[in-house]
Structures are given as structure tokens and as C-alpha cells.
């Protein structure tokens, strides 16, 4: 369903003398429908960059990224929203809507999808309960703890039953109890047919999932193991 074909991403270096930063170099792999991929690698290996390219947040410097048959870097700006609606993203820095309450952060996504009021009234409380934020429905993001923000970000990525979930370090701020809860949730959603790309450097998490692991090293694919374990 997603195909990366020789993708590279080179950022210009802001200091004049420095060399350009190669965040990704000739990355190729394929994500099947309802596949679960753990993307591991050290800090700075290029995990977030990879997810940003898939979301069309940035264009690759070379290579192609296909989503079904669409080339993401060739889609018009005004049409990329249709693609993004099929993806649910947990951003590493959450990117919650600061002026919207917990409830509205989630209901906004459903409004974007064109859900009617009935569905919103039914689904939002359900997912809030699932991530344990029912009590915080009317609070704004800045009033939430780090872990609560993270769980809200996850709820926001799941609410519209996307075809792919891009989860960037979704358990970075969670205690072991919530971490295993979220991992179980992602696995369950994956069982129901949603593809998941989970970027993390958490060894415990990867070893627990025991599904395909792609390891990035300095922007290159170092390993790609079915039923992999965490390697560094």
C-alpha cells in the first residue's frame, strides 16, 4: 500500500561551511496492507523524517513515495488532504490544537471527515474512555500532563479509523502501564486491518511486538527483519 523507492532526503546546512545534512539515503521498502512495521534506530537516524515524507509534509530530495498508486510528491497541494485523511498520525511533538479542548481536538478530526453530529457524540466519548481521558474532556492541551497529551495525540490519530497509522514515538512519555496499554491498542487496531508504522527507540516496545522491524542507521536501512528484535 505504501512503497518507498530509493528515497533520499538532504537538508541544507544552515552554517555556511557545513556540509548538507543527509537525513535519509536510498531508502526502499514496501508496506503491505494491514502490516505492522516497527521503525527503530538511534536518535537522529531519520525516523521522523521518513514519516514526514510519507505524510507529504516534505518532499523527498530524490526517489518516489507511492501511496496506493499516487505519487505523494506529485499530488497537488489542494488535493493532498484527501490522502492525509486516510492516514492517522501521532506526531513526536503531539501537534495538538492548543485552542481546542481535549474533546474538540478529537471531534475536529471527525468534522474534517464529514461525520455527522450523532457519530461524533457517539465516537468521541468512546475513544476518550479508551485512552483514559474522559475526565479531561474539557481541558486544553496546556493543562494536560505529558502522558495525557500523548494519549490524546494517539486518540486523535485513531478516531477516524485510518488505513495507516504513523506513530512517532507514541510511548515516549508514558509509564510502563500505559505503554503496554497503547501497544496492545495498536496491535488490536492492526488486527482489524489498519497498517501501522511505529517509530521508536524503545527496546522493550519492539521486543514485545515481535513483528517486522526496519532499523535505520544514519539514514540508511541497516536491517529489515520479519519478526525482528531490537538491534543497535
Amino acid at each position: 500500500m505504501i512503497l518507498l523507492d530509493n528515497v533520499s532526503k538532504i537538508y541544507p546546512n544552515r552554517s555556511l561551511s557545513g556540509e548538507p545534512i543527509t537525513a535519509l539515503e536510498n531508502v526502499s521498502f514496501k508496506v503491505g496492507k494491514s502490516e505492522f512495521i516497527s521503525l527503530s534506530g538511534r536518535s537522529g537516524a531519520g525516523k521522523t523524517t521518513l514519516l514526514r515524507l510519507i505524510l507529504g509534509q516534505e518532499a523527498p530530495s530524490s526517489g518516489r513515495i507511492l501511496f496506493d498508486s499516487y505519487d505523494i510528491s506529485e499530488i497537488k497541494k489542494s488535493e493532498i488532504c484527501h490522502l492525509r485523511r486516510r492516514i492517522g498520525t501521532v506526531f513526536q511533538d503531539y501537534k495538538l490544537f492548543p485552542t481546542k479542548t481535549t474533546y474538540e481536538n478529537i471531534s475536529y478530526i471527525m468534522e474534517v471527515m464529514g461525520a455527522d453530529d450523532e457519530e461524533i457524540k457517539r465516537d468521541v466519548p468512546y475513544i476518550l474512555d479508551l485512552v483514559g481521558l474522559t475526565e479531561r474532556a474539557c481541558n486544553f492541551p496546556k493543562e494536560l500532563s505529558g502522558g495525557e497529551k500523548q494519549r490524546l495525540a494517539i486518540a486523535r490519530a485513531l478516531i477516524h479509523r485510518p488505513e495507516v497509522i504513523l506513530a512517532d514515538e507514541p510511548t515516549g512519555n508514558l509509564d510502563p502501564y500505559h505503554t503496554s496499554g497503547i501497544i496492545r491498542l495498536l496491535l488490536k487496531i492492526n488486527d482489524l486491518g489498519t497498517a501501522v508504522i511505529l517509530a521508536t527507540h524503545d527496546k522493550e516496545v519492539i521486543n514485545k511486538i515481535r513483528k517486522r522491524v526496519i532499523t535505520l542507521e544514519n539514514g540508511r536501512v541497516a536491517r529489515d527483519d520479519e519478526k525482528g528484535r531490537f538491534m543497535l
Binding site: S78, C81, I87, P98, T99, V112, D117
Partner: protein, 302 residues
């Protein structure tokens, strides 16, 4: 369709309420713009009335010699009224001129007495000419001076008044042009400030707008609430400006009356009330909407 409209309006009004502080600033500045536009309109109309009033009072009188016959004068009258620039021509006979004089000076018996003492009517018959525009007077007078009947003419009193008339017109047109230019510059400046206020208001939302794009909201979906918010600001501003302009007109009407009896500011306001209201709503709403639109566009790139 209906759901989305309802939803857009709800989101727009909610974000209006949540950002009330910055919206008050926006409303304040849009109100100023509308006030400027309205005042520009009112001053423009008032000065037009003023000019028309003065133009109405300016005329040229041609006095004929004692021996000029009424028939000749009537003939000249018909010739003059044929000139396209001439608005109307009025014949004042010797007797009418005397009557007018007596009427005008009836409070001053000594003057009237001295006139009647002469026994003879000292006034000359005249034609009173009004042209469409003040600048055309010299054309008409030179035409008469060079005409075949110039030996019937005793004097043309345009020359005695010419400097005064010219001065009045040059002053009015200078004031008018200067005032208009100033107001126009002020309007432009205020529009610019209004744009900037809205831009700053929305820049707080910049991050949020970019995230909206990332979760798949279409540009239209993102823009709509901001447009509603802009429109709400515009409408509120227009209502405030309307009330202010009304009170202002009410307050200055009597003062302006003293200076220029022809001009009733309140009357002007009332007879144009619909136009003024629509002008204000149009200025307010379009300013609110366009500045929001331009401000939001910047964040729709990702």
C-alpha cells in the same frame, strides 16, 4: 451541506468568543476604517450641496441703457437662452428693479425717501443670467460684449464680482481636493492597519492552521471559520460605526447649520441612511473577510 454550514458557523463563533481580546482590537480598528469611509461620504455630499448652493447664488447681470427698448432686450434674452451653457435668463424691468430695491431696504426709510425724491426711476432694466458652471461665465460675457447689440449694454457687473467669485471657487475646490486626498490616504492607512491587526490575530493560530492541514482538513474547511470570524467582526464594527455616525450627525447638525444654512448633516444622514448602512456593512465585512483570507493563506502551504 447544511451540517457543514452549521458547523462552520458554530466553530467560527466559538473561536470568535475564545479570542475575544484580539477580536476587540480588530473590531476597534475596523470601526475606525468604517467611520473614515462614512465621514468621507458625508463630507463629500455636504460640500457638493455647499457648492451647488453657492453656484446658485452666483449670477451675471447685464444692465441696458435707458434707451434700450423692451423688444430689443427680449430679443437678446432669447438669443442668450439659446447658448447651451446658459441655465436660465431672467428679465428684470426698471419697475421691478425699483420694487426690489424698496422691498430690500424697507427698514431704511431715508434711503427710500431719497429714491422717491428723485422722482425718476434711476434703475436700469437688466437680464440676470445663470450658467451651468461658474467657469463658463467669462465665455458668456465675452460673447455678449462682442455681439451686435453691445451698444445697448450699459454695463456687465460680472467684472465687479469676478475676483470674489473666482476666489470662492478656488477655495472650495482646493478644500475639496485636499480633504478628499487626506481622507483617501487616511482610509488607505487604516485599511492597512486593519489588515495587519487581523494578520497578527491569526498568526497566533498559525501553528494550529498548519496542523489542520496535516490531519487532512481541506483549505476551504480551514478557511471558513476564519472568514465567519472576520465577517462577525466586520458586522459588529459596522453596527458600532453606524451608531457613532448617527450620534455625530445629530450633534453637529445645528452647528453646521450656522455656517452653511443649506446643509443639514442629519438630513443628509437620514436621506442616505440605507446607503450609509450598506456602505458600512460592505466595508466592514469585506475588510474582515479579505484580511482573514490573506492572513490564513500564509499558513496553508504545508
Amino acid at each position: 451541506m447544511f451540517t457543514s454550514l452549521k458547523r462552520t458557523i458554530r466553530i467560527g463563533i466559538k473561536s470568535f468568543a475564545r479570542n475575544i481580546g484580539i477580536n476587540i482590537a480588530t473590531i476597534f480598528i475596523i470601526t475606525l476604517v468604517i467611520l473614515l469611509f462614512s465621514l468621507l461620504f458625508i463630507f463629500n455630499s455636504a460640500s457638493k450641496i455647499l457648492i451647488a448652493g453657492i453656484q446658485e447664488k452666483v449670477d451675471v447681470s447685464i444692465y441696458f441703457n435707458e434707451d434700450a427698448l423692451t423688444e430689443n432686450i427680449m430679443e437678446i434674452k432669447s438669443v442668450v437662452s439659446q447658448i447651451p451653457e446658459v441655465k436660465n435668463v431672467e428679465y428684470v424691468s426698471k419697475e421691478e428693479a425699483l420694487d426690489k430695491f424698496i422691498e430690500r431696504h424697507k427698514e431704511e426709510p431715508i434711503l427710500i425717501e431719497s429714491i422717491t425724491e428723485i422722482g425718476d426711476n434711476p434703475f436700469l432694466a437688466s437680464l440676470n443670467i445663470r450658467v451651468l458652471e461658474a467657469s463658463q461665465y467669462s465665455q458668456v460675457t465675452s460673447l455678449l460684449e462682442n455681439g451686435s447689440f453691445k451698444n445697448l449694454i450699459n454695463k456687465i457687473d460680472y467684472y465687479q464680482r469676478k475676483p470674489v467669485i473666482d476666489r470662492i471657487f478656488s477655495i472650495i475646490s482646493a478644500v475639496n481636493r485636499g480633504g478628499f486626498a487626506t481622507a483617501l490616504v487616511l482610509c488607505l492607512v487604516s485599511v492597512f492597519i486593519a489588515f495587519n491587526t487581523v494578520r497578527i490575530a491569526i498568526s497566533n493560530m498559525g501553528e494550529e492552521i498548519s496542523v489542520m492541514r496535516l490531519v487532512g482538513a481541506s483549505d476551504k474547511f480551514i478557511k471558513a471559520p476564519f472568514l465567519i470570524q472576520g465577517a462577525v467582526c466586520g458586522i459588529i464594527s459596522a453596527l458600532i460605526a453606524f451608531i457613532l455616525i448617527f450620534s455625530f450627525s445629530y450633534a453637529i447638525t445645528s452647528k453646521v447649520k450656522v455656517l452653511a444654512p443649506d446643509v443639514s448633516v442629519l438630513g443628509l444622514f437620514i436621506s442616505n441612511v440605507l446607503f450609509i448602512f450598506l456602505l458600512q456593512i460592505a466595508v466592514g465585512v469585506s475588510l474582515g473577510i479579505f484580511s482573514s483570507l490573506i492572513a490564513v493563506r500564509k499558513y496553508l502551504k504545508i
